[in-house]
Symmetry: C2
Subunit: 199 residues, 2 copies
């Protein structure tokens, strides 16, 4: 009992620190984020980070894992209540656009960390895992759409995800650069993509 609550407290503080780290990373990007800057975004001193995390890589890895929960949840779109193909495509497109519009900085961080994972092998496994869960999420939409249209997907899971991700990333780039049409373009692109992938 006593031991249990202690472990919980440690885990809680870890999450708290990782949360601050996540926000700092989202603000500054991986290349410009230091442990001291992260600590400045908490009520604690920089030394504490090494009490709860062995080193920088472990902290950021923990961050990435925590990000995943938020991410898939945020990213996920209400696909269950769609009754027609049109409704589903609409819901999917709206969900993606809303995810981008609500948390552009978090998604910016995701693309940053995914790029880092190509250099730093320590991040690779976790990033790949998140990528896979995002891919599954997209695939659920594609198969649901195929079911509603009595057709079958004409592409692989990986291809479907790659194309949606491409649209999303391009929209994010333009959105951050100040384009006011980026969100609408993403909506339209996503809506029109689904029919292309089944048949």
């Amino acid at each position: 009992m006593r031991r249990r609550t202690r472990v919980d407290k440690v885990e809680e503080r870890r999450r708290e620190l990782a949360d601050a780290a996540l926000h700092t990373l989202a603000d500054l990007g991986y290349a410009r984020t230091s442990l001291r800057t992260i600590a400045d975004n908490t009520a604690f001193s920089h030394g504490l980070l090494h009490y709860y995390f062995a080193d920088k890589v472990e902290l950021i890895t923990y961050c990435v894992r925590q990000y995943k929960a938020d991410c898939v949840q945020r990213y996920d779109v209400a696909v269950a209540e769609a009754a027609t193909p049109g409704q589903l495509a609409e819901a999917c497109a709206d969900g993606l656009a809303a995810a981008l519009g609500d948390a552009p900085l978090m998604h910016r961080l995701w693309y940053d960390l995914r790029a880092q994972s190509m250099f730093e092998e320590a991040f690779r496994a976790d990033v790949a895992e998140i990528d896979e869960s995002l891919q599954n999420m997209i695939w659920r939409n594609v198969t649901a759409y195929a079911d509603l249209t009595d057709a079958k997907p004409t592409c692989t899971q990986a291809e479907a995800y790659a194309m949606f991700d491409g649209l999303f990333q391009q929209a994010l780039l333009r959105h951050l650069a100040g384009s006011t049409e980026a969100l609408d373009d993403l909506r339209r692109g996503a809506r029109e993509l689904l029919p292309r992938l089944v048949g």
Copy 2:
């Protein structure tokens, strides 16, 4: 005459240094590349970099511009000699797969720098310019394919580029993670994407 040759020599050395910087960046990524490491990849000392470039940002910006020339040239596929839609799709797919297979590290760097441009405004304009030229390159293929099939593209330039780029990036990620099928999957995905975008 004298003035001309001097300016040329300066420009030549700048290019030489930027080339070394480019290779260092491709090896280590933006976050892990320092001016001293770049200088170590040249025959000169670190101080020289500040003789030819005002600061780090100017050097990397110059790099990015230089990268563009290589990039579009490398990326570009032999579309002219294709006589049938099938040949064109094949040539396009082969070109992309070859670009990825020949210089994965350079493409890895591209995605890294594009992510950086979302944080560092100094890179944004140059990155956007490269992105646009890549988009135009893809669009040339799409319109050529549409012409050969007596059809019209059913998507915008930005959408076409986003989807090809998504495929390419996903293939790069898997290729770097050791997947042996990534190149073939990219080929197949690109070949099948063109028909989806016209009609």
